[in-house]
Symmetry: C2
Subunit: 126 residues, 2 copies
DNA sequence: GTCATATTCAACCATCTGGTTGACGATTGC
DNA sequence: GCAATCGTCAACCAGATGGTTGAATATGAC
């Protein structure tokens, strides 16, 4: 079963869970390590990880007594596609944009580098 | 105040609200008309519209005794940017992509029109 | 003014959510 | 075997959420 938009968006609606996802962007982590920076019980984090797993946003694999958590960024795809359906806002990833330009068109023009005025507020307000 | 990712994602987590947003993509609507296709009370729809307004996803303007609901797609921007932070999936809005190309670079090359192979599954699975 | 329409408000209810604590099962190290 | 570590489970709690109904407000039509 592919997780519903309901569960994906609901999973993303909690700041703790978004923070966890960003931590996992760096590297896979054990449950205990995920919990370390948060001021809440291990059981609470375990529940959050359950929600993320249920939404398909992460996968968990037990090796020995340690359970490793791994990001599954593909799960965001459905949600992203849905949102882009509203596409009346300009695309956001201008870096990828320009990479796309370069790749697809092999520009030869003397392009002075445009200043990237996109808001890259990804880091704060998780 | 700019609505938090919390409220935006939470607003998107409900199928009724996502369906409302898609209806408003077509046209602005009065509250009563928004409620019409749903099998729930007008008061419930009014609450949903309150959630969407609170998340900044729609705006409401009262003209006479009718309150018009209007989509505000800019509100999805923050959420979209956040999700793109995980950017390991390809960008989706290729139409906007190509429009961007045209606008920014004023191509003069004999561009044969590329076929749009993007998945526009916006309508189903709201 | 009176009646109908458009929308919200208030109270209520059931269920979900996010947290706690304490007990428990599984695994590792000695 | 025994103790420590890793993680979940179960029970509980407060507050949020999504729905209901009935009354109230505001505007428009006649």
């Amino acid at each position: 079963m592919t997780p519903s938009l309901d569960t994906v968006f609901a999973a993303l609606a909690d700041p703790t869970r978004r923070a966890i996802l960003q931590m996992l962007l760096e590297d896979d982590m054990a449950v205990t390590d995920v919990a370390e920076p948060f001021e809440m019980s291990l059981a609470a984090i375990s529940k959050h990880l359950g929600v993320l797993t249920n939404a398909g946003l992460i996968t968990q694999e037990k090796r020995g007594r340690v359970k490793w958590c791994k990001l599954d960024p593909d799960a965001l795809k459905g949600a992203s596609v849905w949102m882009q359906g509203f596409g009346q806002f300009e695309p956001v990833n201008l870096d990828a944009f320009e990479a796309f330009l370069e790749r697809e068109l092999s520009l030869e023009q003397t392009g002075e580098t445009k200043d990237n005025d996109h808001d890259d507020n990804q880091a704060d307000d998780v």
